[in-house]
């Protein structure tokens, strides 16, 4: 997938005029958000349930290195092979060589955000191995070569006519239909044959349990179950922060994950894998590889401020409540992760310089923070990113602001600290801006500050300041009170 985070503004402008997507966004996110509230109320004390999941994520991150080692040890003991990859390239190489050695010409994939992050599909294609996404939404998004519109429904915005044309063109179905259910069943039949004959199945991981070395997948369709049941080799890819201390913790997180994600108490299938199949078992993988991909996570962890983002459990609830996402959808975010989740994550993975508009596209309303089951304070992180960017933080690839902006703010800083300078500058400013003022507002300043005036006006500098009026008043100009 081409990374297009730098085109945020232009794509957003296009998408905001996409009537179909807008109608969709006006309808679906509020419904999911409402369902979330409804099903949260099945807890006798929803706040406490939320607090507990946040505490579990907090503890998971605080104890990350210990938990990770414990997980590795237990998983290895159960017969799984745990491999480590430093970055995207190393991860791709590992997966490729595993698949090649097994002579597979195609692999089926369960939905996995990290494989999108490391560009696995492109690498597989280049190596003549066909990657087949099997989550219905991902399957469609993959064929259309588009980033996910929503983390839960990656192609939920695509008109049925477009899906029909695609399925007919690709030979996925023969009958001409725009019925969503019939389209779904066509994909079912097409992918069923793939599931039957796969040698290698690829999946992501929702949680890795340190206590037992168990990996957990959460899904509704059953495609991940097929990927873990039919093939001889299973490769599951995760990032370090997926680890949680115990199974009880994992089950409570699942309660919050499913409620936040789709408004379900629990999704249709939750599978817990501990090692490959045992002797005598007829299906399930003979070998289970768990690949832990760092790809920048340990750097993110090194900074206690940025560490917070690792608490994310990828439920997508923040998308449905974000006033920005619900107007523009997932495409402007330009990568695998969208909405507030993408806005906190992408800048750390790609650099503040390449994601300038992402952490600025926020109204600081804080609804994402209020509902986050991971306990992330998104707005505070955006402010932190902005300050790191302005200061040109090297680790985070801060870009600093344009020269003109920096000079303006330096002058401003100078002026507000000095009474004489301030008053002089004010009088000068009043004189210079007079010709742009109309009805008490400045709507432009010629060629100065076009960025500001594109979106908003500025109140004119008034004819006299409070201090001037006060002085005049003392002289009796306005009469004594």
């Amino acid at each position: 997938m081409k990374i297009r985070t730098e085109e945020f503004n232009s794509i957003a402008k296009k998408e905001i005029n996409n009537a179909y997507a807008r109608a969709f966004l006006g309808l679906l996110p509020p419904i999911i958000a409402m369902r979330r509230v409804q099903v949260m109320s099945s807890f006798p004390n929803p706040d406490q349930a939320l607090k507990l999941s946040r505490a579990i994520r907090s503890e998971s991150i605080a104890r990350l290195p210990d938990l990770l080692e414990e997980f590795e040890q237990k998983a290895t003991k159960s017969g799984a092979k745990v491999l480590w990859a430093k970055d995207a390239q190393e991860a791709r190489k590992l997966v490729l060589s595993l698949i090649r050695d097994r002579g597979a010409t195609f692999v089926t994939k369960g939905k996995s955000m990290v494989t999108e992050e490391i560009g696995l599909n492109e690498a597989l294609e280049q190596a003549q191995i066909e990657p087949i996404e099997t989550d219905l939404g991902e399957f469609i998004a993959q064929q259309l070569n588009r980033p996910p519109f929503h983390i839960v429904g990656p192609a939920i915005n695509v008109p049925v006519e477009e899906i029909r044309d695609l399925f007919l063109r690709e030979g996925i179905m023969k009958e001409d239909t725009t019925d969503p259910v019939q389209l779904g069943y066509a994909a079912r039949i097409y992918l069923r044959d793939k599931f039957h004959h796969i040698k290698v199945g690829l999946t992501g991981v929702n949680m890795a349990v340190a206590e037992t070395g168990t990996i957990i997948n959460v899904e509704n369709e059953g495609n991940i179950r097929f990927n873990k049941s039919s093939p001889i080799t299973q490769i599951s890819i995760m990032t370090p922060e997926k680890v949680v201390p115990s199974l009880r913790d994992a089950m409570h997180i699942i309660r919050l994950l499913c409620r936040s994600c789709t408004g379900q108490k629990i999704s249709a299938y939750v599978t817990l894998d501990t090692g490959p199949k045992k002797a005598g078992e007829i299906d399930g993988p003979e070998e289970l590889y768990i690949i832990i991909v760092d790809n920048g996570r340990s750097e993110i962890y090194a900074n206690p401020r940025t560490r917070e983002v690792l608490r994310c459990i990828r439920c997508g609830a923040c998308l449905n409540t974000c006033p920005v996402y619900t107007k523009i959808g997932g495409y402007p975010y330009g990568w695998a992760y969208s909405g507030p989740m993408g806005q906190i994550l992408n800048p750390l993975l790609l650099g503040l310089d390449r994601t300038q508009d992402l952490y600025r596209a926020c109204t600081q309303c804080g609804t994402c923070r209020d509902i986050c089951p991971g306990g992330i304070d998104h707005p505070a992180l955006f402010l932190y990113y902005r300050s790191c960017d302005v200061e040109g933080n090297e680790k985070l690839a801060g870009k600093k602001r344009p020269r003109s902006e920096r000079i303006s703010f330096s002058l401003w800083g100078l002026a507000v600290k000095n009474k004489l300078l301030w008053n002089t500058a004010l009088r000068l400013g009043r004189f210079l801006t007079k010709k742009y003022s109309s009805d008490g507002w400045l709507t432009n300043l010629g060629r100065l500050f076009p960025g500001w005036f594109k979106e908003r006006d500025f109140p004119s500098i008034s004819d006299s300041t409070f201090r001037e009026r006060w002085k005049e008043m003392r002289k009796g100009k306005y009469g004594h009170p």
């Binding site: 990770l68 989550d135 939404g137 049941s229 005598g280 299906d283 206690p304």
Partner: protein, 222 residues
């Protein structure tokens, strides 16, 4: 330095942070229910998920199963070999009633089993190891008697649920399966309703990849 060490070392050298205080697990209402209320709660949750629930006594299970198959127009089934299903001797029952019954224990290679579950049978019949009232969730331990594909590949999944397997919440299941010191299963599956999706135009439908129909026969065994 190898990659593993490099990653772990970097994580270890990061400044330590403390974790937030942990509140107790909120006491879920299911924990306060009596036996019969618990079973009722399970059935309510299953029904909400569009799972067909049939409550019978033990002696009626075979009859009910036959009735369901006839009603659904199913003639070929595969049954798992777990203790619950085995107790009903469904091979003999199939012969009597004229159903083609494959037993998962008849197969000893993956490919033949796959051919049968993907292409031959119309339903898979399994027992369950747990039924969780909290959300109408069935829990299955997969082992040599309970292959993974039997409850997954056929378009209909019929679960036999003895009431002794009903528990209030998930924690009791994971404690029992994983923390009792016995053999940890290679896979444990929580099933909550039929396979589903809403990925096209947000139109929900059942049976995306897994079973389109989930049927539970709940019977007293204690």
């Amino acid at each position: 330095m190898d990659t593993r060490k490099e990653i772990i070392n970097r994580l270890r050298s990061a400044p330590r942070s403390s974790s937030e205080p942990r509140p107790d697990v909120p006491p879920l209402p299911e924990l306060a229910l009596g036996r019969s209320e618990l079973i009722q709660k399970l059935m309510d949750e299953l029904t909400k998920l569009e799972v067909s629930c049939h409550r019978v006594v033990r002696e009626e299970v075979r009859e009910k199963l036959a009735e369901i198959l006839v009603g659904e127009g199913i003639t070929k089934v595969i049954v798992s070999n777990d203790r619950i299903v085995s107790a009903f001797d469904l091979s003999a029952w199939g012969k009597e009633r004229g159903f083609m019954v494959y037993r998962s224990s008849d197969f000893n290679d993956r490919d033949t089993l796959k051919r049968v579950v993907f292409e031959e049978v119309e339903a898979g019949v399994t027992g369950v190891d747990f039924a969780v009232a909290e959300s109408g969730t069935l829990g299955i331990i997969h082992d040599h008697n309970q292959p993974r594909l039997v409850s997954l590949a056929p378009v209909t999944h019929i679960a036999l649920v003895p009431t002794s397997k009903v528990v209030p919440i998930y924690e009791q299941v994971v404690d029992e399966v994983f923390l009792k010191g016995g053999n940890i299963p290679s896979q444990f599956t929580f099933i909550t309703g039929p396979s589903m999706t809403a990925d096209i135009k947000a139109t929900p439908f059942k049976g995306m990849h897994g079973p389109r129909r989930l049927i539970a026969i709940i019977y007293d065994d204690d």
